[in-house]
Amino acid sequence: MRIYIVKRLLQAVPTLLVISFLIFSILYLTPGDPVLLMIGSSETDSVDPAVYEAVRRDLGLDKPFFVRYVDYIGNAVRGNLGRSYLTNKEVFPTVMARMPATLQLTLTALLVAVLIAIPLGVLAALKQGSIWDNIATFMATIGVSLPRFWFGIILIIFFSLRLKWLPSFGIGDPSRGIVVVLKHLLLPALALGTSLAAMLTRMTRSSMIDVLNQDYVRVARAKGLKERIVVYIHALKNALIPVVTVLGTQFGALLGGAVVTETIFAWPGVGRLAVNSIARRDFPMIQGNTLIICTGFILVNLIVDILYGVLDPRITYKKK
């Protein structure tokens, strides 16, 4: 197992290198001049050519593409992701300072998705073809189809504006208590987690139906075990293996979705930082942000792979 983990971590290195090159190239080719946005983005600004050139030189933007990329990678492997063009703050601590907010949101969204999807998926599988099954299928279809930004606004209009139950924006200040934190968390987590919930519902349903038709389930029933034990102990545990796989891969999608959700709900996380940095062409911040998120995604996938072994003892990671 240890060798497997080390191997997977080593495999991450070329992946991150490729990702860093892709981000670097895309930013290089993207229109929009960071210098102009720094010194002359306002509609009442004029740009002094000497200042423009000085700032450009200062940021190293006058160097050729490959020199810049090699410099960047050289610094990155030493743990230096550079400094923001805009604030001159170091990228790594700036991104990491926003990470707890994003993790709080994405993990809650994950929890919301699981809490909705697994009971609904199991119910749909057990009552296959019934009204419950149809409701679950209908909700799953709707959930997948809702655009996140639209659904977020609808939630705000309904729960904040109409019912006045929940705040419309921002992250709850922990010093004001758990209730305030939860109130702020609920709508963005729901907005972010709904499409995942929909997907997981479908996944749980089909996986559960498959498992319920297996011989060992039939044997369990033949032994006279109670239906609840058959369903929850024998069937669900096995049905969850593909669901966990999807959860791992969808964590990346949640981080991607957080970009939109955080902007709508004024949530101060890495997604919002990414949006602001892209709009202002803050290259070091965009590159660092993306690399950190990708590293997180790789680690989550590794954790999921390890979890397989826990869920299914048949899966082992032996040296070939």
């Binding site: 703050k89 904040s160 921002g170 609920l186």
Partner: protein
Amino acid sequence: MKKFGKLTTLLLIMLLVIFTACQNTEPVDDPAPSEKVLTLGTPYTIDTLNPYKYSSDGDRYVLSQVMESLVEADGGKYFPLLATSWSNPDEKTWDFKIREDAFWHEGNEVYEIGANVQLKAQDVKDCFDFVLDPANKARRQAELANIIEKVEVIDDFTVRFTTLEPHAYFLQNINRQPIFSLQALEVLGEDNFSFYPIGTGAFKFSEYKPDDKVVLLKNDSYPITPHLDKVIFSIIPDKSVAAIALQTNEIDVAMQLLPTDVQAVRAVEGLTTLSNTSGWYRYVAFNVSNPLFEDKRVREAFSLAVNMDEAVDSIFDIEGLAVRAPGPVPKGLPGYTDAWFDLWEYNVEAAKNLLSEAGWVAGSDGILEKDGVKMSFVLKTPNDTNRSKLGVIVATQLKAIGIDCTPQTQEWATHLEDIRTGNVEMFIMGGGSTIDGLNYMFHSKNAEGGAHNTHYKNSELDNLIEQATRTVDSEAREVIWEQAARIIVEEKVHISAYYEYVQIGINERVVDYNPPNVWVALTSPTRNVNVK
């Protein structure tokens, strides 16, 4: 099974907590019963609170509350802020008397409580010398270095600025530079200084949560006692969400409403909207270096073919959001005149005749062409709903006379770079809505490489702008400014579109906020904002 029983109990507890949490919404902070808190929802990011490197409106809103400049502009007029008065011994000399009751904020790492460190003329000089030194990479270094020759201390409370030339907009230029403490910069270091502003203003910095909020507290030792105990800038990037937050009383002021939210806000009892004092100029521009638009007759024909009155009416169907612009100086600013309206006309036949006179005739596909070149181009617009609509309307009207114009909305950074580098044929833009706007938009030295780059060069225009800039007498300057603007209207470098009035949503419990302006301190000699 016990395990699942526990799980169910846990889920029920969680649902109970969530249900308990679902009570009425409340303001961003829990104010003490007697505490007066104003919460402003700002759509702008707050990138830095460094007074010599700030860049966005969001940064400046906060800095204006914490730090003071020598003078301030409110309602289009200048008044002394850190200065008590100013005089001009000659046209190139500006003497400012400094307030003797200005003290640096206390209760921080730099000035402990009771330190009573006074801001003196030497601090003002040190601050400007620092900004003027290219080594410090201050954002406004080049701009100020082009104006200021030297700064001298006359006595403890008198500072003298000598300008390189007589400069009519000198007050405007120094007004944008807050006075900061070099001692604070030294003690805190640049990284910490950039997020812990220390000034002499009516509010002291308290807290900054990145992408979330900035909290300011009343400065009790400010000569005018602020009515507000606390000011919170909540950063809400989505303007429609800010409009909802205003309606749910989570914020008191939404700094910029979307036109689509204006009616909804006005319909709520206790809420109202305010317009900014001078409109933001929006225009359709030609890249006059492009062979299609070198000929003035072509530009004039385009202006004749566009029914701008109708376009503006259809874009802004709610009253008060915008008015038709006859020229590049917003209504209400010196130099504006209604007489420019006489220089615009909607006359499709005249447009066709002018184009034909310029050699443009319809080809077999109905599109105008000249010497084998088709009148076909892209009209680039920024991704702002109103200007995008304007692009579609203008393109449609031009198509009616055989011009193949394709509107294309693009992201702000791309748009800005395209204009700067000349990668545009016709474009829609806005700005220059300040008293020296013509200088930024049209003086060939400034326009080139900037956000208003039409490539139009006219030495007469440059001379008029320079002359106006040197004319300290405001009445004489206004006449010259009008002449300069008239050249732009006559030359049809722009098809002037409209002056847009930003709508600010506000709770009626907020008093003394009108005219709305957060660049001016909420407590200053001209206003002392309060909440009922």
